[in-house]
């Protein structure tokens, strides 16, 4: 029953770089890490587990030396549970593996992470969850990231490697875009939704981008979904009556996605294998990939379904374990009435940690 694919690891901080206001890129180095795919995540302990779990620490004190009270919860809150973070990138080097985590400081765990120094130890658990299903070689990938939902899009861009792609990145304001806006890159007009190679992380993979800010401080002024709609309209992918063009392609893409997911979902999580997906050629319809705030993702799902486009969504949910035991990261999905679980209902809860985090937009009831 032991798959040897997922484990607890202790990493070394190789880099901790502020990217923009409240956002950091944490680079974690390990000797070895199981194979991973875009969409997958790891659980990071937002404190030093060794301090709390060292069985000998009670007697680890000498007269004349101040006792070590780190990890003792006095007045400082500590993150008890781990926090899930999607992978923003991965590099396999002769020395080992480097994992990129991009996070925004929102609480005790991320605050602790933001203060890490090069050489510090970080406890992680993973890799966890399913993965994005890559588009067919000739299919366009449209990446839509909002705020701190952008990181998994960076890993996906890395894996698309030369395939045709375009990235839409939105934030409240320019200061909250955790991205490298290329030097000399003038802000496109506030009504511009034409992709240009102005984000370093995407441009190096040949992917042009559209930046949107809610306040118009950089790029398109408005929501990322508004720019996306206008772009799709421009491609001729207009809102259509259901049952028309692309329906067959959509169905085949969805069944492809499901076939790739059932290999893991149907078996026990312990045999969940990120490598079990066989990428099968599908249609030439563009595929949407999205991660970000829930209202944004819902809108992206609606935009995709109105145009008959497949849409893969990496959802975010509060999680205690990430391993399918705490049952807290549930999300409502559509299902046939006669199927399990919950026979007789047309919906069921699935877990973002083991059934997801990637779901087909057409399945989600949120």
């Amino acid at each position: 029953m032991h798959s040897a694919l997922r484990e607890q690891f202790v990493c070394t901080v190789l880099g901790n770089v502020p990217l923009c206001r409240e956002h950091y890129r944490l680079v974690l180095g390990l000797r070895e890490f199981p194979a991973t795919d875009p969409g997958q995540f790891i659980q990071i302990a937002g404190r030093d587990l060794d301090i709390d779990y060292n069985p000998e620490r009670e007697i680890d004190w000498e007269p004349g030396r101040a006792p070590d009270v780190r990890g003792k919860e006095l007045m400082t809150p500590l993150a008890m549970l781990r926090r899930p973070f999607s992978l923003a990138g991965r590099r396999d080097t002769p020395d080992g593996v480097e994992l990129d985590i991009i996070h925004r400081v929102v609480g005790v765990a991320t605050e602790w992470m933001s203060r890490l120094n090069v050489g510090d130890a970080v406890h992680i658990l993973g890799p966890l969850g399913n993965r994005f299903h890559l588009p067919a070689p000739e299919g366009l990938a449209i990446l839509v990231g909002g705020g701190v939902g952008i990181p998994p899009m960076l890993y996906l861009a890395e894996r698309l490697a030369g395939q045709e792609g375009v990235a839409f990145c939105g934030a409240l304001t320019r200061d909250l875009l955790p991205l490298t806006i290329l030097a000399g890159g003038r802000s496109p007009g506030i009504d511009s939704f034409e992709p240009v190679a102005n984000i370093g992380e995407f441009a190096k993979h040949g992917i042009a981008s559209v930046i949107t800010t809610d306040d118009g401080s950089y790029g398109f002024r408005g929501f990322v979904t508004q720019a996306l709609e206008r772009y799709l309209d421009g491609l001729g992918l207009r809102v259509q009556d259901s049952g028309k063009r692309g329906e067959g392609d959509l169905k085949s893409q969805i069944s492809d996605f499901k076939a790739s997911q059932t290999t893991s979902a149907a078996s026990s999580p312990s045999v969940l294998s990120p490598q079990s997906s066989v990428l099968r050629p599908s249609s030439v319809l563009p595929t949407l990939y999205t991660c970000g705030p829930e209202p944004m993702m819902k809108r992206v799902a609606d935009i995709a379904s109105a145009r008959g486009l497949p849409c893969q969504i990496a959802v975010e949910r509060a999680m205690a374990c990430g391993m399918g035991t705490c049952q807290s990261c549930c999300i409502r999905v559509r299902k046939p009435v006669d199927s399990v679980p919950l026979k007789g209902r047309d919906w069921a809860y699935r877990l973002a940690c083991t059934d997801g985090p990637v779901f087909m937009g057409s399945d989600l009831l949120w």
Partner: protein, 318 residues
Amino acid sequence: MPDLSVNLAGLRLANPTLTCSGTCGYAFEYADFMDLSRLGAFVTKSITREERAGNEPARIVETRAGMLNAIGLANVGLERFLNEKVPLLRQMPCPVIVNVAGHSFDDYVETCGAMEGLDCVAGVELNVSCPNVKDGLTFGTHPGRLKELTAQVKKVLPSKPLIVKLSPNVEDVTVTARATVEGGADALSLVNTFTAMAIDIHKRRPRLANVTGGLSGPAIKPIAIHMVSRVYRAVAKSAGVPIVGMGGVQVWQDAVEFMLAGATAVAVGTALFVDPASPNKICDGLAAYMKKQGVEKLSDLVGSLELPGDQPKTSPYP
């Protein structure tokens, strides 16, 4: 290697570490992260007669040194448990205790009755105190009903140890403990989570969709220790009924504390979410502690706490 084995109401466990129901899935969820063969026993998620979807999210929230949960007994139900989970449990490398929850006497009796004939089930733990479901009867806080329930379940489960998991949300836990023992419980486990609440101050709303949830984690450990100590001295010791201590167990020191207070075994819950291997590490720590203290049998520790006013066990003076 010191002798870590304990006897839990006739179940001989290789060591005193159990998992807490609801924190470890149905069977092999943690197989990649812990050595299940080194568990004293595995306790499944609560099973109810009917399948349950559970509560709306948000179902958990972290608090200082603890967390609240209001999962709402989401589970596959008895039929799917028998079809899908029992074949997995047959392969478990440690004894399996099935946790059963219900909303009526019939619910409990039918579900527990289905366990009687299963070889792979070493024992049953009754969840009479899930604080997060609103439908059905309340058993955990009602001594008379609790005694009746224990007696009815014991009737359909004659060959397996019956553990009753007590709620801490009562005025006096020794009252419910006594009722359970009088009903015929073979062992007690305590404590379940404490009913609690957390508020989002920006939205001025409860942080859980269920409004309230059960508090677990290190925050509750000292209260759990006190309750185990009280129940041990007031009820369990004289009745010869062993206690499974739980509530904030993270490290071996916590396990020792529970055992000194009167627990025969300890169960790890919330800590599994952070470190699924913690039961294995607790065993290592217990072995080292025993060596240092010169304890040959771990079970000698059980209830060996001396309180002021106790007769010293052996006088150092002639």
